[in-house]
Symmetry: C2
Subunit: 216 residues, 2 copies
């Protein structure tokens, strides 16, 4: 398959495919001669992965590069790959405010309280958690301590366990794709479902006339 077919087959504009090649997000094709390169199904899959990350996960291109580096680094254990993927996916933490130190302590308390002793001490998501907790704390909520997060922690634990147990690929590229779908796409699904659930429950609680939808 040549580059134009690759572009057409994946629905990505040719210029963008070239851009990804240039950026090293897509490995170069196999040279057939000095002016023709051959691309295969692996390239198609990679391209699909990249577009999913961009469109569903809004992952910036620089992070895509990190993720690609992870997939191509043989010798990483499954756990290393997943942790690296999480680190690449995690957004940069907002700049710290005055309560960040207290928020960091609360975050550590949450992680410990959940029993998540497999979380690395330097995981960037620790700081992300602290940043989010800082906002909650400064808005006055969470005054009863981190135990108010209990339902969230329990839900996260359940879903996280489920996601990990459902990983079953042995090919590193397929594993990577599974993890990405699991983390990015299912993460979005979770957010969307929660918003839908909120919409429903707020309708039940706050809408004066009960749902005016005629029975279908």
């Amino acid at each position: 398959m040549r580059i134009s077919e690759l572009a057409e087959h994946s629905g990505v504009p040719l210029a963008t495919v070239k851009y990804y090649l240039r950026e090293g997000l897509l490995p170069p094709g196999r040279w057939v001669n000095a002016r023709l390169a051959e691309y295969d199904a692996g390239h198609v899959a990679r391209l699909r992965l990249l577009r999913t990350l961009r469109e569903v996960g809004a992952v910036p291109v620089s992070r895509l590069r990190d993720l690609v580096g992870v997939t191509e680094d043989a010798g990483l254990s499954v756990h290393d790959v997943l942790a690296a993927a999480a680190a690449a996916i995690a957004p940069p933490a907002p700049p710290p405010g005055p309560l960040r130190d207290r928020a960091r302590a609360a975050a550590a308390e949450v992680v410990d309280g959940a029993g998540w002793d497999g979380v690395g001490a330097t995981s960037p998501d620790r700081e992300n958690l602290a940043a989010a907790l800082e906002v909650v704390m400064s808005s006055g909520a969470l005054s009863g301590g981190p135990s108010a997060l209990r339902p969230y922690v329990e839900a996260a634990d359940t879903l996280g366990r489920l996601d990990v147990t459902s990983l079953d690929a042995e090919d590193p590229a397929a594993l990577m794709e599974q993890m990405v779908v699991g983390q990015i796409v299912f993460g979005q699904i979770l957010l969307v479902l929660r918003r839908l659930a909120e919409e429903h429950h707020s309708s039940v609680r706050f809408r004066d006339p009960p749902p005016p939808q005629p029975p279908r």
Copy 2:
């Protein structure tokens, strides 16, 4: 309080405060004389809200405008405000692929199956759910039908109900802030917690030596 104090007090650069004023995200100050305007605690709160939305939720400025419009539209019920906030927060759906129609059907099945009959027929999150499901379907997962989403739906239902029942402000501005914190910040918290849980469980499952952290 004058504009420079407002900026200093909230930690936002003066030029950015002026930009937000220009964009209508921040209401103009009360004129003291032709060259001096007075800003109050409401402006500080609004500014904090805007920064939270930007930094934690990565909400684009154009969406902030929508949200501001919602807060200032008296006469909306609590449910309307929440639905409008959800619509403003929801990211734009990725362009549809070939499986989108099937994904839409699956999304409708999920919403119905969850019993969320309070969800509006035109809620943009329906399309977002379909877009995410399309990706999952095209990657081959979810072949057993939408029932594989059960744990996600249940978690979302639990958390969504919790979020709605914990709303208790009567002042519309405070209510808006509560909803924003609930949706954006707790949404991020949920994603972060899930990543941390995945990291822990993958450590338990995949890391050859069990967590090598010395007991503290």
